[in-house]
């Protein structure tokens, strides 16, 4: 447990270094953006700005200062909005978290459901599920977003087209995101179930007269749970960093659109903070998945 925690911190430290290094190495002198345009640049002004933002310090000193601040919760001040970065994040985070949570529910329910259906029924149902989910996943999210908006938002008027704030607003974006994950989740479910179904103990359960429905639930799906949970966790973790397109398409004020905006305006503190947050979230989710595994499979408890 302690080793796991130490590994976690080491990963975070390494990524924070990469994130800071990347924005340090990014093309363009931050001074230009800080000063708000080339015409304002007098040598005195430049050196004033450089001093104010400690830009003349060596790289490692700058990194150390940033990291120290970040650890104590001070993520700096946005260059563009002039707000505390942590305030910006707090304002944007609920939208994105809500979106990801909604999406996760959708793809878990429908992805696992379709996978079970394909594995249990086989034959044509199986082929239809595989073909259907593959097609759904291969549609780019912005195309799907546009199609969903025009059909359910504009023509039928069932859902709002833009903005966030309620589950109602998040439905179309969540459907768009979940559709992209359906193929992988349903296929992992299907494959894991087919592997489990061949095991001897399933035949033993069948030979004891257990109804087929119970065999599927108690033995096949139960045994397949490990890979399914792992894959769902990974997809959710990846989604935390992948909401940009959907947020943009549906005009959601989330973390993803904040990041793109920050990168475009060279708002380094915001960029760094958002990236760090995404990495932290990813690590948190994958760690959670790892911690859940021993609950699913008692054999994994031995080494713990």
């Amino acid at each position: 447990m302690i080793r796991k925690l130490a590994g976690l911190l080491a990963t975070l430290l390494a990524t924070s270094f990469v994130i800071f290094g990347a924005s340090y190495a990014a093309p363009g002198d931050p001074v230009t953006f800080l000063a708000g345009g080339k015409e304002n640049l007098t040598p005195e002004y430049i050196s004033a700005i450089r001093a104010q933002h400690h830009l003349d310090d060596p790289f490692l000193v700058q990194y150390g200062r940033w990291l120290g601040d970040a650890v104590t919760g001070d993520l700096g001040r946005s260059l563009q909005y002039n707000d505390q970065v942590s305030d910006l994040l707090a304002a944007r985070l609920p939208s994105t978290l809500g979106l990801v949570a909604y999406t996760t529910v959708l793809f878990v329910v429908f992805g696992v459901g379709l996978g079970v259906l394909a594995a249990v029924r086989g034959g044509r149902v199986d082929a239809a599920v595989v073909a259907g989910t593959t097609f759904a996943t291969s549609v780019p999210p912005f195309v799907l977003a546009t199609a969903l908006t025009s059909l359910f938002g504009v023509q039928l008027g069932w859902f709002p087209v833009m903005g966030g704030g309620s589950p109602w607003h998040l439905t179309l974006p969540a459907v768009t995101l979940a559709t992209g994950a359906l193929a992988i989740i349903s296929r992992v479910t299907r494959q894991a179930m087919i592997e489990q179904r061949e095991l001897d103990h399933v035949t033993v359960a069948r030979a004891s007269g257990l109804a087929e429905r119970l065999i599927v639930v108690r033995h096949v799906l139960r045994g397949a749970l490990g890979p399914i949970v792992t894959m769902c966790g990974l997809v959710t973790a990846g989604m935390l960093a992948g909401t940009v397109i959907v947020e943009t398409a549906f005009g959601l004020n989330g973390i993803g659109s904040l990041l793109v905006n920050a990168i475009n305006t060279h708002d380094f503190p915001v960029t760094q903070a958002v990236l760090l947050l995404m990495v932290t979230a990813y690590i948190a989710v994958t760690t959670l998945v790892e911690l859940v595994q021993p609950l699913i499979d008692p054999r994994a408890r031995r080494s713990g």
Binding site: H201, S208, R222
Partner: protein
């Protein structure tokens, strides 16, 4: 009425020869019947057909009667009741027979609770009794353990306990002791014999070990390439085998005391792609004649039973 009666069972599943060809055998109440053969001889298929656990593409003819009811023709509901409470199977590898992520208690009560609809508390009490009956110490705490926490011999006891759960009248033991250590094997055999005698169960005891079958069973059927080549009371079969294959099986096991040369049966066990026009054993038989390769031998009455060999025809 016989407890189990297999009549003219033929099963084909796409190979060049049937898996089983015209197999007939019977098990009475309180009787242990051995089924001996090399791997691929079809002995497990016979046990599986009693529970109708056959590959979906299999073509089946003949009848498998349990207490007079034809297993191959019964409704799915009747089949589930048969599997749940009348016939139980014990498998070769106890470790793969149990779901690794479920507790021993779940395994023991599943049949009672989920198939027969008994109350959970009652099923649990039954499970504790059964574990005690198969000689497990501290049965209460065993119920909460997982399969990986028990040894192979312990697990086979659990499997036997589960097989007895709903009070079946017929046990199918498919190589039930083959995967165990010799000492555990002896314990398990003694246990099987004890529960069989106590409950007057009929048992179909499947093994590849003719010596074991002869010692453990009342009657033995020797199976070769899907046909029964000899079926006789155990002692007579052991003392004076009439079919050359049975004799070959007995001759290829080393024995202490009476030193004699070990003579392996030449050749290899036939696969499903080997088709035979005559006797299936003819290619490996030391006494093959012209007739053996052209005509399939019919069972002939011999002392105590029958054997299917042209040499015995007069």
């Amino acid at each position: 009425m016989m407890l189990l009666s297999v009549e003219g069972l033929t099963i084909e599943a796409g190979g060049r020869r049937p898996i089983l060809r015209d197999v007939s055998l019977a098990v009475g109440r309180g009787e242990i019947v051995g089924l001996v053969g090399e791997s691929g001889s079809g002995k497990s298929t016979i046990a599986r057909s009693v529970l109708r656990l056959l590959p979906s593409r299999a073509r089946v003819s003949g009848r498998v009667l349990v207490e007079g009811d034809d297993v191959l023709a019964m409704s799915p509901e009747a089949l589930r009741r048969l599997r749940a409470s009348r016939v139980s199977m014990i498998y070769q590898d106890p470790r793969s027979s149990l779901n690794p992520v479920r507790r021993i208690g779940d395994f023991l009560t599943e049949r009672l609770v989920h198939t027969l609809g008994r109350p959970k508390a009652e099923a649990r009490a039954t499970a504790v009794e059964l574990l005690a009956a198969v000689g497990m110490r501290d049965p209460e705490s065993r119920l909460r353990q997982y399969p990986h926490e028990l040894s192979g011999g312990m697990l086979q006891r659990v499997v036997i306990a589960a097989a007895l759960a709903a009070g079946p009248s017929l046990l199918l033991a498919d190589e039930a002791t083959s995967a165990l250590d010799v000492t555990t094997q002896a314990e398990t055999l003694a246990l099987l014999r004890r529960v069989q005698a106590e409950r007057e169960l009929g048992m179909l005891f499947i093994t590849h070990d003719l010596h074991l079958a002869a010692a453990f069973c009342d009657r033995v059927h020797v199976l070769y390439a899907g046909t029964v080549v000899e079926s006789r009371p155990a002692k007579e079969l052991f003392d004076s085998p009439r079919h050359p294959y049975t004799a070959g099986l007995l001759a290829c096991t080393p024995e202490l005391g009476a030193p004699r040369t070990i003579r392996p049966v030449p050749g290899r066990p036939p696969s499903l792609d080997d088709a035979f026009t005559g006797c299936p054993f003819a290619p490996r038989c030391p006494h093959t004649t012209e007739r053996c390769t052209t005509r399939h031998p019919e069972p002939v009455a011999v002392a105590g039973g029958s054997a299917a060999c042209h040499l015995l025809e007069v």
